[in-house]
Symmetry: C2
Subunit: 461 residues, 2 copies
């Protein structure tokens, strides 16, 4: 199945200065050499790995494009197979012409993630590293990028693989004992084995616990902004955006027409959930509004209550009551109360706000006053200790499930050791734990699982 040569566009679709088309497979170099004419008439098959060649992609006598062609020879390539990368002019038309040409020459269109799947099947990456590639590409803030990078470089799976190996060693010894059952020998030192199990327990527990943080970092922290219409929600989002991204947006060279709902603050992604106005409660339609607001608060980890300090300067008691309402309904959920538009108020009015509403944050999204305090309040709410300490963090729910199952089996093994369970029964539990470890790194796998994992990749990766 994996002997054919695949082709795909590896760069984002659309028009740009250049685009990269990638071929991988045993025939990659042969097929490429049929369509490529080097300016110095070099024979592609005789070129060294990791070299670049200027030439033309030719469709019979027609010149399709002037390109740079890179040669990677197996096993020194991303997939571990022969790989050709063609850097062509970035028009969609040219990209399609070149891909069609290679399809006619016997390539097959790559499926989503197939290059990385081949890298996994050829032993260039383990499964959790392969999954980290997709995470890395979709990472859009420092924290999720750092975790994906760490996972891709094997930080997480190498820890698991090492424990698995030690456990496997003990499993073999215990299974060996079974062969000599009548002689009542103990090849596996039970004290050492207990110590290993304790160590595994400790690591698994830490990894399992890290998932709460990891999940938040990977998916962004959901924040509900609650308040009447026109209290300055989008100005606030803009101000937060500018705080962190002003330079970025300039560099990207693209226009930001709409405010993104996900904003990276201090390297952590925050997803801002739009909410209906909370105050409109006079008829059925409006009570749906309130219901929706509460639903959004329930979906979020943090709630921001935003009000217009200018418009409500004579109405602070009503604001206080509403804030109380939310606090009473969700006592466990962090709530940030923000008085916006304070630039138009005098000191007396500000003092009145501080007196009436507890823990209020005075802010002017327009002038930027208070925005920095808001960002640090948001960051303080998140326990990012693990991240700061550069610890391994689990972000993938598949890994989390496998870790939980492995943990359960290890508990059984521990209990078995303590109660002097017979070797044959102990061996079954150990094998189960090993199975779940193997699921993470990909020693244990099946086509369905691989299909599910790589379907989430983009084509060309």
């Amino acid at each position: 199945m994996h002997n054919d040569t695949i082709v795909a566009l590896a760069t984002p679709s659309g028009s740009g200065a250049i685009a990269v088309i990638r071929l991988s497979g045993s025939e990659a170099i042969t097929i490429a050499s049929k369509c490529f004419k080097s300016v110095t008439n070099k024979d592609l098959k005789e070129q060294s790995t990791h070299t670049i060649h200027l030439g033309h992609i030719m469709d019979a006598k027609k010149t399709v494009d002037e390109v740079l062609l890179s040669v990677f020879k197996n096993p020194n390539s991303y997939t571990g197979e022969d790989v050709i990368e063609i850097s062509c002019h970035g028009s969609s038309y040219i990209q399609q012409e070149i891909i069609q040409l290679f399809l006619r020459q016997g390539c097959r269109m790559a499926t989503a993630g197939e290059f990385t799947l081949r890298a996994f099947l050829n032993g260039k990456l383990d499964l959790s590293q392969a999954e980290a590639v997709a995470d890395l590409i979709s990472s859009d803030n420092e924290a999720s990028h750092q975790i994906a990078m760490q996972q891709m470089r094997g930080g997480f799976s190498s820890e698991i693989a090492k424990l698995r190996e030690e456990l496997l060693n003990f499993a073999s010894l215990i299974e060996l004992e079974l062969d000599f059952a009548e002689e009542d020998v103990e090849f596996a030192d039970r004290t050492q084995f207990k110590q290993l199990i304790e160590r595994i327990n400790f690591v698994l527990k830490r990894l399992i616990d890290s998932f709460a943080v990891g999940n938040v970092i990977k998916n962004g922290i959901p924040v509900a902004i609650v308040g009447e219409p026109n209290v300055g929600k989008s100005t606030l989002l803009n101000a937060l955006l500018n705080e962190d991204r002003a330079i970025v947006s300039e560099i990207a060279g693209t226009t930001r027409d709409t405010i993104e709902d996900e904003i990276s603050i201090g390297g952590i992604g925050f997803r801002f959930i739009d909410t209906a106005g909370i105050r409109e409660t006079k008829d059925v339609v409006e009570s749906i509004g309130i219901k929706k607001t509460f639903e959004k608060i329930e979906q979020s980890q943090v709630t921001i209550y935003l009000f217009d300090a200018q418009k409500n300067s004579d109405n602070l008691e009503a604001v206080r009551i509403e804030v109380e309402k939310i606090r009473n309904k969700y006592p466990q959920k962090p709530l940030l109360v923000i008085a916006n538009k304070i630039d138009a108020l005098d000191d007396l009015q500000l003092a009145e706000i501080n007196r009436t509403i507890a823990d209020v944050l005075l802010l002017s999204a327009k002038t930027g006053f208070g925005v920095e305090q808001l960002t640090s309040s948001l960051l303080n709410l998140i326990n990012t200790g693990a991240l700061r300490n550069n610890e391994t963090i689990v972000t993938n729910s598949r890994h989390y499930d496998a870790l939980l199952k492995a943990f359960e089996e290890i508990q059984k093994v521990q209990h078995g050791l303590e109660t002097g369970l017979s070797g044959d029964l102990l061996a079954i539990d150990i094998r189960q734990a090993l199975y779940h470890f193997g699921e993470i790194t990909g020693e244990i796998t099946n086509d369905d699982l691989l299909g599910n994992i790589f379907a989430n990749f983009c084509i060309g990766k």
Copy 2:
């Protein structure tokens, strides 16, 4: 000004499997080596040109990404300077992190087209070839791609450059005569000179005439589709699209949510202009609709009148009258009359349509019947003889202007030669013609002109 090192994203913005970041300038390799750690600890500065190196982009101790880095040493690079290309994971976050890192290390953000501008200034391309790069990237059909490719490979400008050189030679000889004015010598053979001028005249005339076709090919042929609402315009566009692009759309791997208004048929781009319904003429608002329809017809080169054959089977006379109205108003403009939805009609009804309406094309966008005939009718309307014969075609209005001016001056020279104009006056006209030739290839240029040309490029090219 052009001694600094520039950096930009070279691939389309957005997320993909990989992205390419490009550096160019005297410090490109030095700067890259500060941020790159090869897996085998190679020193970048000692690597040969056109080689690829696996390693990590490091921001101090932090690993930003695992990348492939390509080295191109001057003058063997796109810009003619030292060039580094970094192929990183295609997340926007990573792209931005790497670009920001290089900016901090002393690179400057490239302006639009600055890489190609440098290639021009370093003599890697002439000006018309540089302009063809932008045309190539924006080409979205076979014809415009082929012309841009030809121009980029120098087909057009090399012809001009050769004529310019010969003309320059004669100009020098004539100017030399002026130095020996008292001796009444003729260094420049007037018969040969007349032949050259005739040759130049011939070439210029051909190039100038080609602009009409070139312009149409480059910008697409505007087609107005006229008709009542719901006659099946979008189904027709879909059918045309499928005729030519079914495979393409599958390959691109992207969803086509909306029908593009530009469709490539037989390698030529057709721009379909949406028109308001033509029949609604009862009040002021509706007569604006008619006015708009006529405006659209005026902007187009071809008009398609589309009607619902099923709905109008008892109403064909009204259709005939409308078609007459358009034909009478625009006698010079090609008009294709299409009876759509004929799949629901019987033979008698079809015969009636053919009898009532002259030159009607029977079509069913739903079943695809008649679509092929429509595409060949559209192609027949366009004079693509020049294209088929692989002749040089001028598509750029700047070149067209320069050619017209050069032609004018050459006419003066020819007239001067015939009337025995004195050498000093002849020399002035020749110099003028040379000036306009030089404008095309870029021997004659100025900052404003360059600014205008390269501002149309994308950043990263």
